[in-house]
Symmetry: C2
Subunit: 317 residues, 2 copies
């Protein structure tokens, strides 16, 4: 874990480093979304990214920065899902061993996908994952790629918005979900070069980031669960500093708003997005006055979701 | 309804006629699909087409061919879903009134979508839809746009493959689902210009097309239901003639195979496809010897499906 604050220049260097190992994802638009939002919404389809999520960018930037001795010992991380797949994929790219600690509530599709990239999965309780990871690292001298509180990871995540800004001009604002804050802080660095503000979208049941930035004190995770299963973690130190300095605002949304927005986007666009990604649309739909008439960039964080869950929530089949 | 046999030239003229009113849909590829198929599969994403299905093409070609007096009286059709949306959309494009007769089992999402384009919906039993439509036409002098047994509709549907052939070169075969046969016969006309054979994919529970072409006698619909809810109708006269002449083969697949393939494609590509479209992938996965090493074009017929259905089948929530 590196603790210097990443910069916009780090995002540009990350883009060069990971080029060829990530997809230049398309930007989609949808009249039904625009009509409902009263805005022009440009969606950066990171659900079509390698591993089905933007997390491939950060993990690759971190892993491609490691020296050969570190790679030979292997890589480890903890993740509720997409970051685990991303580390597994990045390790596969460089031919390194990877171990991913995952919480018991992680969707089956995400656990299977991590294994599909050849990584070992260790399951444990959400609250114990730091300790389990620490034990594994002590025993095996793995290099840890943290899901978000790492300058290289944040710089990598920012490359999605760097691309978006080259694909769509004159955006007024960029909206992304926030969990640990890697995506939002990286996006904020990237967007700052053009003076474009960012806004975070967070499930209100896990609203530590919103309360942290409001109170100017970094709070721990709420410990609650959310349909936005990628957004449960508390905001990281680096993200807190970057977002505080930028004055980035966080909008909170309910579980119902998230699932309704997720289904709306899937039904109308025919792109599968996960509820964590739906959080950004929910925030836009719930705050029409804030976005009306604007050109809004959205980072669709991922598309890894159990179809049964998205179709039947809140009635789990 | 026009009864002359459409030609490849009609498909080219249709492409010119409907240009600007339909999307030039992308072609996607997916390593997981290719690995499983042992083939290179190029998917023409008509799930991203206007109204979420290729049917926009045929309906538009038919409606844009009508004179102003016919348009002033209005347009009517019957459809289990996507064609209804397509006619409603085409009528909206030209500012004409539209009435769509739909069977009681049509997915809610499709009924809502037809209404969303401003058309009137009349619900009835699947078996009675021809009679209900006839009554409406007699009373109101509507022009009927048949879902498939119409040369202009078939020519319009063929434009998807015409585009596909300009987007991907050197295809060995094109696979599409078959219900009434509009898509498959139009695709066959388009592909024939380059000498590329077509193959149809049909749910075995509604296998009238497969049995019709094998027995060289056009059979009526089975009357069964299928998860491929767009494929219940019997093969049309024009499609039967075109496919018989071309020697097009039909592969049948089970309901389980269709749903498994549909979920596989959605989970791995992040594109929402409907089970009718999944039928084509099921046929490819079930016949590896037929496709191994080939460059296979697939027309993804549509993406209009209830998420709960796709996620939980066979347990309806």
């Amino acid at each position: 874990m590196t603790h210097h604050l990443p910069t916009a220049a780090d995002v540009r260097r990350a883009a060069t480093r990971i080029a060829g190992h990530v997809h230049l994802t398309p930007v989609f638009t949808c009249r039904a979304i625009d009509t409902r939002a009263g805005a022009e919404v440009f969606s950066k389809a990171e659900n079509l990214q390698k591993v089905g999520a933007f997390k491939a960018r950060g993990a690759l930037n971190a892993v491609l920065s490691l020296d050969s001795r570190s790679l030979a010992r292997g890589i480890a991380t903890h993740s509720s899902g997409n970051h685990g797949q991303a580390v597994a994929y990045a390790a596969q790219v460089v031919g390194a061993e990877a171990v991913v600690v995952m919480p018991d509530h992680a969707p089956t599709v995400k656990v299977d996908a991590v294994r599909g990239y050849g990584a070992r999965v260790v399951m444990c309780r959400q609250s114990e994952r730091e300790a389990v990871l620490a034990d594994l690292v002590e025993a095996n001298a793995y290099t840890v790629v943290h899901p978000f509180d790492d300058a290289r990871v944040i710089a990598g995540q920012g490359t999605a918005v760097l691309e978006l800004l080259s694909q769509v001009h004159d955006l007024d604002v960029v909206v992304t979900p926030i969990g640990g804050g890697g995506l939002l802080s990286g996006s904020t660095l990237a967007a700052s070069t053009l003076g474009i503000p960012t806004i975070g979208a967070e499930p209100v049941v896990v609203d530590d980031a919103a309360r942290s930035l409001e109170s100017r004190t970094r709070l721990g995770p709420t410990g609650n669960l959310s349909v936005g299963d990628g957004l449960l973690t508390g905001i990281g130190e680096l993200a807190f500093e970057i977002l505080s300095a930028a004055g980035t605002r966080i909008l909170t949304v309910t579980e119902d708003e998230i699932m309704e927005a997720t289904r709306f986007v899937v039904a109308r666009t025919k792109y599968l997005i996960e509820p964590s990604a739906g959080t950004a649309y929910a925030a836009i739909f719930a705050n029409p006055d804030l976005f009306r008439g604007s050109r809004v960039g959205v980072v669709v964080s991922g598309g890894n979701v159990d179809l049964a869950m998205i179709g039947t929530w809140p009635r789990t089949p």
